[in-house]
Symmetry: D3
């Protein structure tokens, strides 16, 4: 069995990260994972939401798909007066993931919001949002250091997201849409540069899966994670 684009089972799609794709955000990048393209922008505000402990900062994320990011046009959330539940789920995941990358005490009483807007969706938009969102976040933190607002970056660890799944009974890394849409099992990992897990979400779409299968999928993700962290380090050249 071979994959539609000739990739090995444990091979990521080609990834391209263009930093500073827009110029007003404190940090930004356009990340392309194959045909999936997400614009990630980090915005710094000098206040925190009310639930945050005194002396601490906050990192949060918003996620949205442009109406024609997909094969079919979808209505804008504002037309339906509802945040899409899928977007709600994803932006909570991205927010938790990037919060785990930061020492919120060292960030101080400010909020960094990561906007992840999917310009084109071909599978893996949530993990691309984590990987690209981390770049935007790191750039914004670097700017805070360069401007003398912070003495050192509050980022603790590199963090990225990667997915794997079982298609036609075969575990494989980084599903594109044509694979994802007929996957039996779908699993997303957010991991740090030590290969530890921060978020793990697995779903039996077509069938239940065994604990052994689950471990195999996490192993595939761990392999992808090592490569993505390397790429992030190359793009950023350090924190």
């Amino acid at each position: 069995m071979t994959r539609i684009d000739g990739r090995a089972m444990d091979e990521l799609r080609p990834i391209q990260i263009t930093t500073d794709f827009v110029k007003f955000a404190e940090g930004s990048c356009l990340i392309a994972c194959g045909d999936t393209k997400v614009l990630c922008c980090a915005s710094v505000e000098e206040r925190v939401p009310p639930h945050v402990a005194e002396g601490s900062g906050w990192v949060t994320a918003e996620y949205s798909m442009l109406p024609r990011a997909n094969r079919e046009r979808s209505k804008r959330d504002v037309s339906k007066l509802k945040l899409s539940p899928r977007s709600a789920e994803i932006q909570r995941l991205v927010g938790r993931s990037l919060r785990a990358a930061v020492d919120l005490k060292r960030l101080g009483e400010r909020t960094i919001t990561i906007d992840c807007d999917v310009l084109q969706g071909d599978g893996g938009t949530r993990t691309a949002s984590v990987t690209g969102g981390f770049i935007a976040l790191a750039l914004a933190c670097r700017k805070l250091v360069e401007e003398g607002v912070l003495g050192a970056t509050p980022i603790r660890r590199f963090v990225c997201g990667v997915s794997a799944g079982i298609v036609d009974e075969t575990p494989m890394l980084d599903l594109r849409y044509s694979e994802d849409s007929r996957a039996q099992v779908d699993l997303n990992c957010v991991m740090n540069e030590l290969g530890e897990l921060i978020e793990l979400q697995g779903t039996g779409e077509g069938r239940a899966f065994t604990l052994a299968e689950q471990q195999e999928l996490v192993r595939l993700c761990a392999k992808g994670n090592r490569e993505l962290i390397q790429l992030q380090k190359r793009v950023l050249g350090g924190l």
Copy 2:
């Protein structure tokens, strides 16, 4: 180290399931897991949403907390004109989990909606919603058989939800709120009666976690799963 309520690390809280707590729903139960109380009601409608394939049925879920289910009163969703993002995430999980329990073809062109309303929340409301929601679903399916609408139940497998976490560096099963609120790692499993996974969600709240820790937490969940499936079978006395 002992747990606040004297439980062993791999011990579930006492569970009580009262079927037919309300009488108009096609199936219902009140499930209490310790102090967590969720009212689960299954409603059958003879139509399906537009995205469902012809000849197939649909199972979906809604989740909500009553305003005073928690230590602090929270505003109703309708006052904020938004479904709480947390509720959106949870009801998607419950819906996927219970859909996996059913052969949608055999259900035929009808929808079963499982309403999970948390009367009191003390940790583990999403997994209690899956476990209790399954009971309500099974009762509704039984009623369809009894009424001659269906020849046999469309349920394929028993399904339940269970959580585990790491508190003070110790893995433990079925966290109550006072444990959950200081957990370092939190992991939820939805599993079927074969011990296979349907949904898996793990979050490093306080720190990242290793693959070994992840496996240990899934093992704890698998132990809880076996007991919950037994309980479900006792309550229902078969499908």
Copy 3:
């Protein structure tokens, strides 16, 4: 003519009040009037809305039906992004009724919110909300006294709600749904322990009604009111 459940024309349905049905609210009860079941929770907050005069407190209510409280499942308010107009009308009635029970000056600058959530509806949910809401309110006030926040209860009078109607040209007390749905006239009273009126709402559903009929319905309600106040006093054992 006899009633479907064999009751006399001036007889209330059996009533059961379970106090402290949930444990986080400052006061709560589950009230069952026949098959109508309402969960009433009182929450105390140490602030008042802006329209309240300085030095004064506030009592307000919210009312909602769970989606499967009735014979047919209804959509949640948040799905429609509107508070149901019927709920809006009822919660204004419950709020005014319970406010009348309290000396707002003696309550001091705090708000008590009474959440009335109908778990099962079989007619008379608004009057059950007043009767049960009063219990929750009184328990919350008692807790404020026990905690030393208040020197004495700010409750001035026992207050309860009761309904009557004309069915098949016959006036009768406390309609259940099968009676209510074909009532010609429907009338609700909120009264205090002195038998005085606080709220009065009468509607000619099927036909107009005379002043004499109106008085007869109020007389029936006054009879029910006396019994309900007795029950409230038994349940609470004083204020």
Copy 4:
């Protein structure tokens, strides 16, 4: 004791009804009760909402205050994305009241919507909406007859609304705002030309009230009702 504007206790404010104040509605009037001014428009549509029985028509009402109808400007409902709960309550009352005036079978499968928009509010806007709304409704029905759509008017009885209250321990008819805002008891009646009740709403704003007081207020309303029905008959010159 005399009233601020010199009226007797059982005296209505001067009323002025201008029919056809706007020209596109099938029926309309501007009703002024003292300084309260409500524009009432009846619109006919050749379809009914889904809940209406086959072969039957429907009458419904909407009520709104213009932002500067009162002493203080209020925000528009659409700015708050909520129908004001008070408006919800009132428009349900007006709808029920005017529905009672019509034989819905004879109306046939069409809907008449009565829009009551308060241009200036000085107390008694809900009862003015009923009284003026009836005029708009009757004019629309007359037009249906004139156009040959209906053979005879579906209106069964004249219907109007009137209020009374207790101010400084004195019962009085038709409160203006300066009286209403300090009323101890406030009571609204919708009555037909036979002096029968269709809707009755009484509220103890400042104190509870006795059954005797309630009857006295209804008697005052009945007196006002007779005058208002006369006026409606003069304005319309028959149905």
Copy 5:
């Protein structure tokens, strides 16, 4: 070619302005331009929105049509939970236009809101809103002077709105609905008493238009503007 109502091509419809149509607003008028009737109310509040520079005031407008202002009943904005996009566009235009009439520094830190509610619409509602809104604004400013809040009116110039269009290839002033609905080109001007432009909006509804045609339409508007300013001066008798 003659116009349906016999007007000359450069002739305005008859205009009637009733000041103080409602009595609570600081300034108000009912403006009728032919069959178009708009109620304009100015409300003064002693605060400004956050985006306004310190020491400066603010003037803003809201625009809405009553549901039965037109030939067909339209749903209220609040039923759709959206401000009509057309209303959004118009109220921005009216707000900018009236802001241009005022020296915001001299107004001081207060907001004047002009509510323009269309009671009957027969074409030209947006320009009638500007013309009538200016009257309400001027009356409110006069009241601020009379009450000693301001030493002199902050109004700098008279401002009014007027429209023209091309119908059947003929340019004409002040289109009524029956003309407007088949206009090829539609152009609105807001101008001051010096004949200068404040707002200009032209649309080729049925076809594109030349620069020469555009100038001809502006010339027609300038003629109408001179007459409207005269009328405003007559009605107000000075600022």
Copy 6:
């Protein structure tokens, strides 16, 4: 006086149009006018909204700014549950402009929606949306022809948008944000390839403007229009 970026008064910013920036839309381009970047996507649907005459097609537009398109992050519309009024105004303009470019009869009973999403805003986003939106529209129409759905393009004329303004008393073409934010007068034109006007919107932001100034601004726009139409023709190489 020279412009901040050294441009002549009648000189456009450099424009770059990347067609097929995203691959699922029937037509798309990324248009950059200086630092303003708008992603324009055309989506074809085989149905029309109810208000469209039988046999005719429809063209409409939606406009939105990404949250960090500007110097300050703005909240998403869906968070506020309102379409921004500015966006509402702009998308109506873009829709009317592009509708004017198309023979709706020849388009047939289908809708083309042009989504204009501003990735970066530096002035002139609405005119860039028209100019880029036309390219996306033309590409989508070409695809309909290539697929044999239409025999010939339904586009009648090239259409583009361009702005001019008066800054420091000097009329100039195509304002960037730093000019626009202190402009005294701002004017937008949508014109076709014959130099005729389709839409014209002028606003006296800082002061009123004379008819002569208005003409001068339109003349500047006409000059820009000629260059933009040339560019569109080069990019598309014919319709």
